[in-house]
Symmetry: C2
Subunit: 367 residues, 2 copies
């Protein structure tokens, strides 16, 4: 079960209740966020970064739970492509998450955790909460909005529904709608969590024991989709883990087994299983065209931003064809867009890893 967060979080409570796509209303919404670099006096230099499914606001700061570096330290910082000597970078934990923003582990009005009483949210709801955050911070127009994976979905939603809010929209390794295969993998993860008796219908917060085994299996399955087949072969192949011969048993004989088990277990120390249910659900519900009569171009009809769309050739979770569909839609409404498919061996996770070409494209677009 996720450990308690051991640091004081930067946090704001939204002054108005949040009306959700489901028709429900969330009151007293907290948004936890982190910032880097100085905000200019005219507030013109803000860049909003949206994190991915299991990411959080600790873009470039040591994670308060794991003690590991921030998830995009190679991209965000002084002199880096997203240069905090010039820009004021904001990243907020999505609602539904578990790093301080209101989510299923938060206390409802009755003083008990929401658990599965938390309303099902959408990607647009996540953006809505962050637009309210910007309102309260007094930031009208962003220099840029940037997101990879789920973060890219949020960036596209911002462009579609708050078209005047950002001058530049950078969407990396993402899609305008979750495919049947995307939904299928998420459903496996959700079923793994809900099959764990320690899930207890979501009401596990009091007991101190959550569905760690189920969440671990969910993470393992998802993790495979973040890596390319060739990347896995390069990294692990069929190499054995700390042994010279197969054990003829069910221990982790292969390095790839050991690695996946570790990924699964480590994840449970920093992530709440119910948050995993809610955020994957939001992603599965995501279909930007659907909200616009099935025509994706309509979503961008009022866009005022410049766009940059980046895909990776080995990403089979959100393959280049998905980015191409976004670019076609932007072209159809004559929105200025640059598009590049980068070659990188790491699969979907390439957006987080050492891909110098990505650094150059991001830096060039943000300038």
């Amino acid at each position: 079960m996720a450990a308690a967060i051991s640091t004081d979080l930067q946090m704001i409570t939204l002054t108005a209740p949040l009306a959700l796509d489901s028709g429900k209303v969330l009151a007293e919404v907290r948004v936890a966020y982190d910032t880097y670099g100085e905000l200019a006096a005219d507030k013109s230099n803000a860049i909003l970064i949206f994190h991915a499914l299991t990411g959080d606001q600790f873009v470039a700061r040591t994670h308060p739970v794991t003690g590991k570096p921030g998830w995009w330290e190679r991209m965000v910082g002084p002199g880096l492509p997203i240069d905090t000597d010039r820009f004021h970078v904001i990243c907020a934990n999505v609602i539904g998450g578990c790093m301080g923003s209101t989510g299923p582990a938060s206390l409802a009005e009755d003083g008990q955790p929401y658990a599965m009483r938390f309303p099902v949210i959408t990607v647009r709801d996540m953006v809505r909460a962050q637009m309210a955050l910007l309102d309260q911070l007094g930031i009208e127009r962003l220099h840029a909005v940037v997101g990879g994976s789920m973060g890219g979905m949020l960036a596209l939603v911002l462009a579609a529904h708050w078209p005047d809010r950002a001058a530049r929209v950078l969407a990396i390794a993402t899609t305008a709608r979750h495919s049947a295969q995307n939904i299928a993998f998420h459903e496996v993860g959700r079923q793994a969590i809900m099959a764990d008796p320690d899930w207890q219908g979501g009401d596990y917060y009091a007991g101190g024991k959550g569905p760690d085994k189920g969440l671990s299996v969910a993470r393992m399955a998802a993790h495979i989709t973040y890596l390319s087949e060739a990347g896995l072969t390069d990294k692990f192949g069929r190499r054995l883990q700390d042994r010279d011969a197969k054990s003829f048993g069910f221990d982790a004989d292969f390095q790839v087994e050991s690695y996946l088990r570790h990924q699964g277990i480590a994840f449970t120390s920093r992530f709440d299983a119910n948050s995993y249910l809610y955020i994957t659900r939001a992603m599965d519900y995501f279909d930007l065209a659907e909200e616009h009569g099935g025509r994706l171009a309509e979503a961008f009809a009022g866009a005022t931003a410049r766009f940059c769309v980046i895909s990776f050739d080995t990403d089979w979770l959100y393959p280049t064809a998905e980015s191409r569909a976004i670019v076609h839609a932007l072209n159809a409404v004559a929105a200025p867009v640059s598009f590049v498919e980068l070659s990188a061996p790491h699969g979907h996770d390439s957006f987080l890893l050492d891909v110098p070409a990505l650094d150059r494209v991001v830096k060039g677009f943000i300038e």
Copy 2:
């Protein structure tokens, strides 16, 4: 938990103990099998079919547990590509399986189920048991051996280790070694099973309650790998299940979710979770080149058969590149081999489905 088998199975007990690759020995090994068509007086017309991971001997007969048609009824029967008017078709349940052949649910010498005391077996051990079956049936040389997916692995092992045993080897949608990604998906399934408290370390046979939830999740994850992304999109897309709008809940809103859940649950009625552990382990251990100093061609140095290798363009579990590696190795030892990549939309499962070109290739090769 898998239901008891409700029919009398055709079965043989091997007269000699089976020496396994692990160094262990299995005594009193039973091999359950099914046959179709008449065996010629000179026993020259036998075709051995190897089934896939979750298949069984009921190739062309109503399944005794599910009541569903045999898994290859479209391929095997009178006048069909594998013509039972001409050939005597044999298919045996692999050892480690759960349709009558000795496996983890079988009783050990102490009268209790083996459960996890069953020895870890290899693909070669599976073939070994079936070669002993052929010995006892008095069949020296097969007209052909045929297998898809895991069955193809068994066919390749037969060609490598019992090179005089078959005149024709037909390997469909298979590989000569399990990749890191293949292992990773199997490990997710195993962890899902072992995370289920009803697994009870494998000792669930007495209680009548097995790790159905874990096994169901394992099946769901595996099932995704059997289908192509495009096939899933064609079949389900983002269509909703029996509703007009999203429920904003965690029911199976999408058809693909409902389908996967059904696949998972249905599987538990016919398959033993411990068998799933042992058979996936055998597949993960499979690397035909490794047994031959890392050179796959060496495996086929003594081959006397004609080979046919078939892949499917949408199969991402065992993609065409894996078949090509097999063909290269066969070419390197000048073995006669024909190779075709068939176009079919169904992904890995294409070998089980309506692909007329597959029928023609199989029929032509078997003649």
